[in-house]
């Protein structure tokens, strides 16, 4: 690999500084003993303590994470099946139509999706709360998963399937031993994208929360009217730290799997 010149290095560094500066600025003030982001008075951990004492906030954080994990898991499962169905469709124009319908859902505004869900849920009598939020998050994540998995499928050489069939693999074997391992990176990419979409979605979630069930994005938006307290800075810092740990963990596991001992079965 060619070594990077000095200019690209500077450019890269600048990009990272711009991306991370706001986050570090926010975390820096979470240690502020004053009660604003205007001047730093002295170091304190009070705001972190406040996060763990505020049960309502903790419940909301847990809700947010549970919804994100479950909706990402379920939407990945459904999305992968959807992508496979689209891939194996014989009729070209039907396939194109389904794919377009999928893409329309990706570009349609969140507000409209949220409002439609609210109307649907009240129409069929689903109580707003955990279930309604989960269902709507699954719904808006499925198209994203499909769009992440499909390119991997299309990239896969068809001779791979033919070869497996020639060697006597059953339909189930082809799916579980050839196709799924091949598209695994796409599946994980879809899962993580669905996870982040669910974590930070405000517009859809606002419409479908209720009965004491709320998520972090909705809560922080409501707080904005009277100014966001440094407790939120502390909480953001903790979530950022957790994300880094998760990404590092994923990276380490990924590297291990690639090492010679861990040959895929």
């Amino acid at each position: 690999m060619k070594k990077l010149g000095i200019l690209p290095k500077v450019y890269l560094a600048a990009v990272f500084v711009i991306l991370y500066a706001p986050i570090f600025y926010l975390i820096y003030y979470s240690f502020n003993s004053g009660d604003g982001m205007s001047n730093f008075e002295s170091f304190t951990l009070d705001h972190y303590q406040a996060v763990f004492q505020d049960t309502r906030l903790l419940i909301i954080v847990l809700n947010t994470v549970i919804i994100a994990l479950l909706s990402a898991l379920l939407s990945t499962t459904i999305g992968v099946m959807g992508a496979l169905t689209i891939y194996f469709m014989k009729n070209k124009s039907a396939r194109q139509a389904v794919l377009s319908l999928n893409n329309i859902l990706i570009v349609s505004p969140d507000v409209i999706i949220g409002a439609s869900f609210l109307i649907l849920f009240t129409l069929i009598g689903v109580k707003l709360g955990f279930a309604s939020v989960l269902i709507s998050h699954i719904a808006f994540s499925i198209p994203i998963v499909v769009i992440m998995v499909l390119p991997k499928l299309l990239e896969m050489s068809t001779t791979l399937i033919d070869a497996a069939r020639d060697l006597g693999a059953s339909r189930k074997d082809i799916l579980t031993r050839v196709i799924l391992p091949y598209i695994k990176p796409g599946i994980f990419a879809g899962f993580f994208l669905a996870l982040t979409y669910s974590l930070d979605d405000f517009a859809v979630t606002f419409f479908v929360t209720g009965n004491g069930f709320s998520t972090l994005s909705v809560e922080i938006y409501s707080m904005a009217r009277t100014g966001i307290t440094l407790t939120i800075n502390a909480l953001s810092g903790l979530i950022f730290l957790l994300t880094i740990i998760l990404v590092l963990g994923y990276y380490i596991i990924g590297n291990k799997a690639k090492s010679p001992q861990g040959v895929k079965k």
Partner: protein, 357 residues
């Protein structure tokens, strides 16, 4: 394939653990009986300790939810699907909710503490006889300014906002009625004007303010003022109080020609499933000591006269936030102007914003 199934299993396990933790937390939070009420309020608009106090005192668990705009709140209540027992709309929203038949009339015999509310704030045009609502907090619209960045202006009149020395210094709130309102006020017209001619005159005058306007924004203004990045802002009294507590150079004034007096009000929506609990909650919030604690936490002005004696004198004697009756005479409460006139306001405001450079 095995890897995928394992991953899925791990995720399920983690979610299960989190659900368990959540269950534990919720159990710890709501120790009270099976009676519950759902309160729908603005973000950061109540002292959380008071909720606990209410739960212990009455044995009713409070499910607390927040919203960030009157319109969003009304939308959810209108659609149903969740049973809110108490909510806190602004004055024009009370009127709209009443017209849409979303509110229950109040039975004052169940709210004895209503006697502590200043009679001045009762029986207002948006809800005559307080049939549906009781004021929760109130405030004004005025000018926040940073004296150290200016040349001695004091903004006793709205006219001073047109002063040429303020070129590119003024920040306006992104809200049609407030901004057109200052122009109406400066011309001596009512804030609830529906006359097209008056509105036209007001926007024509507003356009000449153009060169002074630095930005038209929302809540970000608080931080800009605190950081000395802006010197003059049209804002609400509560926001101004936040600025003042952070930056001593900032002052707040309501110009002499008059201004808007706003209210957020407690109401019981028709969706309520525990009306008795809602009455208990309202009566609790109107208790003088509770109201005082709440007002000190939230920072807005309380309409509860009896509460004032429990509060820090520095707060209650501050005429910028508790103007005396004489000063209040000039203040006007918004009325619901109907969709059509509201559309005219919005359109004129949009035109003004587009004309800005």
């Amino acid at each position: 394939m095995k890897g995928l199934i394992n991953s899925a299993f791990v995720i399920l396990l983690v979610s299960g653990l989190l659900l368990f933790a959540n269950y534990q937390l919720e159990h710890k939070a709501g120790s009270a009986g099976k009676d519950t009420i759902t309160v729908y309020n603005w973000g950061e608009y109540i002292d959380p300790d008071l909720l606990k106090q209410f739960e212990e005192q009455e044995g009713i668990k409070v499910i607390y939810e927040t919203f960030d705009s009157n319109e969003g709140m009304m939308g959810k209540i209108e659609q149903g699907g969740t049973a809110y027992d108490v909510t806190v709309p602004s004055e024009y929203a009370v009127q709209m909710m009443e017209e849409k038949d979303l509110l229950l009339p109040l039975d004052f015999s169940k709210i004895p503490n209503v006697q502590h509310i200043d009679p001045y704030f009762m029986n207002l045009p948006f809800d005559p006889d307080n049939q549906y609502s009781i004021p929760y907090f109130w405030g004004t619209v005025g000018i926040a300014y940073n004296a150290s960045l200016l040349e001695g202006q004091t903004f006793e009149s709205w006219e001073s906002l047109w002063d040429a020395s303020l070129r590119q210094k003024l920040i306006l709130v992104d809200s049609a009625r407030e901004v057109i309102g200052i122009s109406l006020n400066s011309l001596g017209y009512s804030l609830n004007s529906t006359s097209l001619q008056e509105l036209k005159q007001a926007t024509d005058k507003l356009e000449t303010m153009g060169p002074n306007v630095k930005a038209v924004i929302g809540d970000e203004v608080t931080q800009l003022m605190i950081n000395n990045e802006a010197s003059v802002a049209l804002t609400w009294s509560g926001q101004a109080a936040d600025m003042i507590s952070e930056n001593d150079d900032i002052n707040y004034i309501v110009p002499n020609e008059g201004s808007n007096l706003w209210f957020d009000n407690i109401v019981i929506p028709k969706t309520s499933t525990n009306v008795e609990g809602a009455y208990k909650f309202i009566n609790f919030m109107l208790d003088p000591e509770v109201a005082a604690q709440n007002a000190e936490y939230v920072g807005y002005s309380t309409p509860n006269t009896a509460a004032l004696s429990f509060m820090d004198e520095d707060i209650t004697s501050d005429e910028r936030f508790y103007p005396d009756e004489e000063a209040r005479k000039n203040l006007e409460v918004y009325e619901n102007l109907g969709l059509e006139t509201l559309g005219v306001y919005n359109e004129l405001f949009l035109k003004f914003k587009m004309g800005l450079r």
